[in-house]
């Protein structure tokens, strides 16, 4: 067999290919040759073949069949083979393939090799792709190399140690003794990597952090940093006149971690930070990189107030810089500090607003976020003008966020109702379909509550959709308002501006156009039909026309619309005497919170009675009206008042919410999905909620169990089963924490044997408060058609006292009633 062509030759050939197909053909041919050479166990050319394979891999062709060949190359005695073998392993292999474990032994041998470059290859590979198994096996070798006097190996070993710690945090302590002398090293490579290692340890473990504060790491770092600044020109480490910016930045970052929440450490670094902040040359990017890091450190530690002013001023200067990168960084860091130093940032407001006009989307986004953070009662009019202008001109990707931001800010700081409604109208007409669904119900609520503005609002909305009814959120709000306040529209009662002359037929025309239009979403049509129905009691001479429209949609192919129309038809025919009462104007809605997560909990006609039966209605509810008994239309009691501070899970269909509120009879028979129960709520509400959404017919009396109780974390299971579908068991878990510190990032996972099916709903939160002062609840549904004994494995991960905890447990003590 002739010698295979050389790598460079192959590259040259492939580059002559004129089409993709031609290239593919060449590669296929070469791959075939390489495969057969691999099959023949050819040792001479293996290295060349793998190198060629790596080139093809870069072009996007499959190269996995070279994985084992890489391992053979690594095991070879020749340096060339090893070099390509390790390169190939890093490119073609990773921890998801078991093959990579075969490398462990070779790496171990190479770590003890007599040539430092072979040791270097092994360290580099381990530090880039070592899996946790590999890290466990080789950590001892790494630790040994971390203590050698050879700086070429030492720096690599330090970064390997960082990788080992990232993969297997519990191995951290093993490297502690070796860190003792690391900072006495003169070599910058070793110094830099050591600082990276120390940073990793301090960030991962509070104990390590405390230890390093105690062994006075701060003065040591300050001394190194001082030497760097003072030292003369050293061409090797110098970047545009600044000595070793890489090392300076890493030291500043480690100082930040050490100084955070620690007065003594902060005190010890104030001077050097001031020195760096004032003496760093800023004509080049590199100087600004250091200043930027310095500012972040100053803002994060307990620094002197003078120093903080200095830092904010540096950012102010950044903001005026011609370099876009510097401006970007300024906005990013101002965004980080705006919460703590609001007034200082406020001084740069006009410059920030100017950045909204920047061409660069990255800068625009930062400027937008920062602008919203700076809105307050004093500047709201001016800022909103700028932001509305921005909303009009910005790229589509910003519109939704910007619109939501304006809604929030307007709600918080609106100087008058009129201004508020005008602002919203502007957003609806300019951002159009980008407005998020949840905005619609919020706006309707706002409009309802501004009683004196009804005539004005409905007139503005009517005019807005007259020409263009393609923007769904606008049309939805407009339809709703026209339905509610149509009488005000035709009677021309508007006081705020010149009333318009509209006839009843003209109003119905536009609503019918919305119903017919291809551009209207199903939800929008629902709004329009309900609006038309409501107008039947507000208009006098067009009732017959309304009846006709409603009956036409009784055979619509849109099920939702059809259902609505059939109900309304029934209302005309059988319950006409009740119609006026049912279609009465909506009462002013109660509103509990203006910002922060809120949630309108809704029930529908089917499930609500179950709640009312067992529990007295909460005081905030209106008593069920006679209308409610019958058709449950428009009833205020459909909404339980907004629950304040209810966290997390959003309403399943934000857009449909108001429709439900307007009397969406759910004939499909499935209860709307309800949020996970909240333990922190008043108990009567909670009880209603936790049982109501899942089943109406709950089999009671299954004893609860404690599934897990360890390290202060206790998890209880309570059970519910449906009578109608007994193969489903609903388990509500309650996790509580008896320790003195909160558990954060709590994640509960469960596994069941294959004969079962498992569904986990969203947890109520991810934080379990300390001292048993609250719980997380989460609902698990288990489908067990064969009624087998229930078994479950659970996995718990959370952060506690600064370290990540993880535990596995098997739950076998399920009560027989929960599965039999």
């Amino acid at each position: 067999m002739p010698a295979p062509i050389r790598l460079r030759e192959l590259i040259r050939t492939i580059r002559t290919a004129r089409t993709q197909a031609e290239e593919r053909e060449m590669i296929q041919k070469e791959c075939a040759a390489i495969r057969s050479s691999f099959r023949e166990e050819d040792n001479t050319y293996r290295c060349r073949n793998v190198a060629k394979l790596l080139y093809m891999h870069m072009l996007g062709y499959p190269a996995h069949f070279g994985q084992l060949e890489c391992l053979k190359l690594i095991a070879s005695q020749k340096f060339t083979d090893k070099r390509i073998g390790y390169l190939g392993a890093m490119l073609l292999l990773d921890e998801r393939q078991d093959v990579h474990l075969l490398m462990t032994n070779c790496i171990k041998n190479d770590l003890n090799h007599s040539t430092q470059y072979v040791q270097g290859l092994a360290l580099c590979t381990l530090g880039c792709m070592g899996s946790s198994e590999m890290c466990r096996d080789l950590a001892g070798e790494v630790e040994k190399l971390l203590k050698t006097s050879n700086s070429y190996l030492r720096k690599k070993a330090a970064l390997c140690a960082v990788h080992v710690i990232r993969k297997v945090p519990e191995l951290m302590e093993m490297f502690l003794p070796a860190t003792k002398n690391l900072l006495n090293e003169k070599n910058h490579g070793v110094l830099h990597t050591s600082v990276v290692l120390l940073t990793e340890m301090c960030e991962r473990s509070p104990d390590m952090l405390a230890h390093f504060r105690k062994v006075s790491l701060v003065p040591q770092l300050v001394r190194i940093l001082k030497n760097l600044i003072m030292s003369g020109y050293s061409p090797e480490h110098d970047v545009s006149g600044i000595s070793d910016p890489f090392l300076q930045v890493r030291i500043l970052r480690l100082l930040r971690i050490l100084g955070r929440n620690d007065d003594d450490s902060s005190e010890a670094m104030n001077d050097i930070l001031a020195q760096v902040a004032t003496n760093t040359e800023t004509s080049k990017n590199v100087g600004n990189a250091i200043l930027y890091e310095t500012v972040l450190t100053i803002m994060d530690i307990k620094s002197e107030s003078g120093l903080r002013v200095l830092a904010i001023n540096i950012l102010g200067r950044f903001l005026l810089n011609n370099d876009k990168n510097i401006r970007y960084v300024a906005l990013t860091s101002l965004l980080k500090t705006v919460q703590t130093d609001h007034n200082a940032v406020q001084r740069h407001r006009s410059t920030i607003v100017d950045c909204l006009k920047d061409l660069d989307v990255s800068i625009k986004r930062r400027a937008m976020e920062l602008s919203f953070a700076l809105v307050n009662g004093n500047n709201v009019r001016g800022m909103m003008k700028e932001l509305l202008y921005f909303l009009d001109s910005c790229e589509p990707e910003f519109k939704a966020d910007c619109a939501s931001g304006i809604f929030l800010a307007a709600e918080k700081y609106a100087p008058s109702k009129r201004w508020h409604i005008d602002t919203i109208m502007r957003v609806l007409t300019t951002a159009g379909s980008y407005v998020r669904d949840d905005a619609v119900p919020n706006l309707i609520q706002l409009i309802t509550n501004s009683v004196e503005m009804h005539a004005y609002t409905v007139q503005r909305l009517y005019k807005a959709i007259l020409g263009d009814y393609s923007q769904q959120p606008l049309v939805q709000v407009a339809s709703w308002c026209i339905g509610e306040y149509g009488d005000l529209l035709v009677s021309g009662q508007c006081e705020e501006e010149e009333p318009i002359q509209v006839t009843e037929d003209e109003v119905l025309d536009i609503l019918e156009s919305v119903l017919i239009s291809n551009m209207s979403a199903s939800v929008t049509r629902g709004y329009a039909l309900t609006a038309i129905m409501k107008l039947s009691t507000r208009f006098t001479c067009t009732v017959n026309r309304i009846k006709k429209v409603v009956s036409i949609y009784g055979s619509s192919i849109d099920v939702e619309l059809q259902q609505r129309a059939v109900e309304y038809n029934a209302l005309f025919k059988k319950y006409d005497h009740m119609r006026p009462a049912l279609l009465e104007r909506m009462p002013v809605m109660e509103k509990a919170t203006t910002n922060g997560p809120t949630e309108i909990v809704q029930t529908n006609g089917e499930t609500e009675p179950a709640v009312l039966e067992t529990k007295p209605p909460p005081s905030g509810l209106q008593p069920a009206s006679q209308a409610n008994d019958l058709l449950d239309l428009l009833g205020g009691s459909d909404i339980t008042p907004v629950i304040p501070t209810a966290p997390t899970s959003k309403p399943a269909s934000a857009g449909g919410e108001l429709l439900d509120l307007l009397g969406d009879l759910n004939l499909t028979g499935s209860p709307v999905s309800a949020p996970a129960p909240q333990i922190a709520q008043p108990s009567f509400l909670l009880d209603g909620l936790s049982s109501q959404p899942l089943f109406n017919d709950i089999a009671a009396g299954i004893p609860s169990i404690t599934a897990y109780n360890k390290n202060g974390l206790k998890i209880d299971f309570t059970f519910e089963r449906s009578n109608t579908n007994p193969s489903v068991t609903v388990i509500t878990i309650q996790a509580s924490n008896s320790t003195e510190l909160d558990m954060t990032d709590f994640v509960f996972q469960a596994a069941v044997p294959k004969t079962f099916q498992l569904q986990l709903l969203s947890p109520s939160s991810s934080v379990i408060p300390a001292f048993n002062s609250g719980t997380i609840t989460q609902v698990i549904k288990v489908l067990n058609p064969q009624k087998q004994q229930l078994r479950m494995r659970i996995k718990l991960t959370y952060n506690h006292k600064g370290s990540a905890m993880q535990d596995l447990a098997e739950v076998n003590n399920f009560p027989p009633q929960s599965w039999q």
């Binding site: 390509i84 040539t115 690599k156 660069d360 044997p753 099916q757 569904q759």
Partner: protein, 207 residues
């Protein structure tokens, strides 16, 4: 061991609360629910956590969008990598010359710079120092330049393995290992000497 079905719950605050059922062929298998970067990103749990401030990956590509070098410091399936490369190349090539060098991308930030016909792009964590990352990129270019002497795209195409070797002497696991301009190139040159003598090269080059 029994066969199992496993499900992991969505994170609090996420919209959908219904999870489809997956089956597992053997053992008790646990997925991770903390996937940060989107689908398929769950294999490396360290993405997105605040403590590590490393570079996640480095890409070199031409103005025509041809990939010239890829270095991943995060474990991802091949398919995902290809998707990411396509996406990022497209994002960066479509950006205006006069814009900043930073782009927000998923939970990470892309820092890129064009040198002649080649784009150098690093994905860093949101909290990392963007300006210093530009210096890291620049230093890598300097190292290439020192080694090749007036480096150009063709050098990197025909000697791609050397470009990787140089990168590996400069960065390990997403962290800079050497801040001296000399050491990295010297290490490569010394290794080259080990690789093959001139005589060997003339008779039977390795690749």
């Amino acid at each position: 061991l029994e066969e199992l079905r496993f499900k992991s719950a969505p994170v609090p605050g996420e919209g959908s609360n219904v999870v489809s059922y997956g089956s597992v062929s053997f053992g008790w298998l646990w997925g991770q629910s903390g996937a940060v970067l989107g689908s398929g990103f769950s294999c490396d749990g360290s993405i997105g956590k605040s403590f590590s401030r490393r570079i996640h990956f480095i890409l070199l590509f031409s103005r025509q969008g041809k990939l010239r070098l890829q270095k991943w410091y995060t474990t991802l399936p091949d398919k995902e990598k290809k998707k990411i490369i396509r996406e990022i190349v497209q994002i960066i090539l479509s950006r205006n010359q006069k814009t900043s060098s930073f782009v927000d991308w998923k939970d990470l930030k892309l820092v890129y710079k064009r040198y002649a016909s080649l784009y150098f792009c690093c994905a860093i964590e949101d909290q990392d120092n963007e300006l210093l990352t530009l210096e890291v990129v620049h230093r890598y270019v300097e190292l290439l330049d020192r080694y090749f002497g007036n480096v150009c795209e063709l050098d990197i195409i025909f000697n791609f393995e050397k470009a990787y070797f140089i990168l590996d002497e400069f960065i390990i696991g997403g962290e800079v290992q050497e801040t001296s301009k000399r050491s990295a190139v010297k290490a490569i040159e010394d290794s080259d000497m080990l690789q093959e003598t001139v005589e060997e090269y003339m008779n039977k080059p390795a690749f």
